[in-house]
């Protein structure tokens, strides 16, 4: 049997045909219709799924269900998006709408929850009874796994780890509050820090790396400079690590998961990121070395985590 996993993003929609072992057999992607009504988005996803099934010579009877990971809060029982700022959805019955176009069961969940489920089953946290997966991107996505299952809270809206306030003041967040963790520790926040550092320190290697175009700064820039011994780069990375560890320590003090998984582009820094982060987190966690410590690991499934996790939604119901 096969499963279709769909990672519904603000700019593109990626779908994968996944086998019983959680391996993606084939992937298809198309742009997400900008400003589309939920009926249109649902129709597009149904077409993408049909195309994927057809192109792989698989019969629809061989597909068990479709799983969708969508930004925002969904009622997972009903398959309805309750609220998604990315799409402007309020109460969008995506699952029912898709079923008008394709005759398969449809499961729906938050995209970060899907990534966390995938990492917990076949990724970095495989074998752990509890884990939290953090994705450092435009914002910070978070998914909590307890007892091998997604923890959603009573209204399916839990796990909004990026919207944990870690500072009394700060830039306004998309959620309306100030001081949210994602305004300090997302890739976007690191880019902002790097720009500020580059402008204030004209002698920094960062400015050479950019060849004068500050718009080229991305989540790697400060790390690249720091690795070359640039003081500004090192200071930026150090400040960023502090913010990143602040939120991680909070999450650990609250949930004490066996494993925390770090994903998103910044996790490509590997041990250069992880080694100092482990020290900061170990030193700040309540109880310190007197109690067993949460392990921090890098995500393993990369951008496929969303598709793989979505394809597992029906199994873990």
């Amino acid at each position: 049997m096969y499963y279709v996993g769909i990672d519904l993003g603000g700019t593109k929609t990626a779908a994968g045909l996944v086998n019983e072992d959680g391996i993606i057999i084939c992937k298809e992607t198309k742009p997400t219709r900008k400003g589309g009504h939920y009926t249109e988005i649902a129709e597009d996803m149904a077409e993408l799924a049909s195309s994927l099934i057809r192109h792989n010579g698989v019969k629809i009877e061989q597909v068990r269900y479709i799983g969708i990971g969508c930004p925002g809060t969904s009622d997972c029982e009903k398959g309805t998006v309750l609220y998604s700022s990315t799409f402007g959805f309020i109460g969008a019955p995506l699952a029912a709408e898709m079923q008008k176009h394709i005759d398969l069961p449809v499961f729906l969940d938050n995209d970060a929850n899907c990534a966390a489920l995938a990492e917990s089953i076949s990724g970095a946290a495989a074998g752990a009874e509890s884990s939290v997966t953090i994705t450092l991107g435009t914002g910070i996505g978070g998914g909590i796994i307890i007892g091998g299952k997604i923890y959603r809270g009573f209204n399916c809206a839990g796990g909004e780890l990026g919207h944990m306030k870690v500072a009394l003041e700060g830039d306004e967040c998309t959620c309306g509050r100030k001081g949210c963790w994602e305004t300090f520790a997302s890739a976007t926040a690191l880019i902002r820090l790097t720009k500020k550092g580059a402008l204030a320190n004209p002698e920094s290697i960062i400015n050479k790396l950019l060849e004068g175009d500050i718009g080229k700064i991305d989540g790697r820039t400060a790390f690249d400079a720091a690795r070359r011994g640039d003081e500004t780069g090192k200071r930026i990375v150090c400040e960023y690590m502090g913010y990143l560890s602040d939120g991680l320590i909070n999450i650990i003090n609250i949930l004490m998961p066996e494993v925390v998984v770090i994903g998103g582009g910044i996790s490509n820094q590997g041990e250069y990121l992880l080694e100092p982060l482990r020290k900061l987190v170990g030193a700040g966690t309540y109880g310190g070395n007197n109690i067993p410590q949460t392990e921090i690991r890098l995500a393993r499934l990369g951008n496929d985590a969303g598709i793989i996790g979505a394809s597992m939604l029906g199994k873990k119901k």
Copy 2:
């Protein structure tokens, strides 16, 4: 059958004989031996339990077990305190030590977890599938209940909600970090705010209420002044509510429990506390009114929550 619940505190130890309905039949209290070795503390608790059983004419065969709530982190399986800053315990096998003196099974857990369990079974969160109980005292105690059971994390150290950083800077916390929620929103923090406000505003009613003795300030003072229309009192209460809501919103965004229970002396302010708090929390929670909201309620079991919860530990294993 009966149960003995013990609330082991830094200054006093309270024990209760509890019936099948979770009702305390009789309570005995004695001072906790200051700086005592764990063997002495265990012996004292065993004596207190024996005395309670004897004085009530109950046979030891009629008592199912003893449950203990202790500040700090415990290995609940082994009945060992892994770390408690209150007592300076690191690896103290309290349960085994007690059983040298009394022939009953002994269960051990964190004191705030016990309070949360009690409120979730026979208190303010009775009937809720998930709840978080916050106790505003010297620090902030927190207990998380998921699926009717205490959520402890993989190492039994979860639920340290007071040690969630909500500010980049601030007074140093007992845990060594700066900016912990309990340094802003505990009763101790409110007292500090009130003192500062009273000193800076000699015209404030607060100074009259204290009759010149600033040492008389407690968690009620600012509320008392605010209720009488005092501007300084209102400002202090407003600032404090802001800090309290900051942490509550974080907890809700992460866990989305059905109910949050507020306990500790400050919860005696009742609706005067709760009404503005509900508004602040409702406005700041991710998803706002588009999704079902967590209910905020006042604790019902008061100081007995620790004893009652401890007496339930064995049932919920």
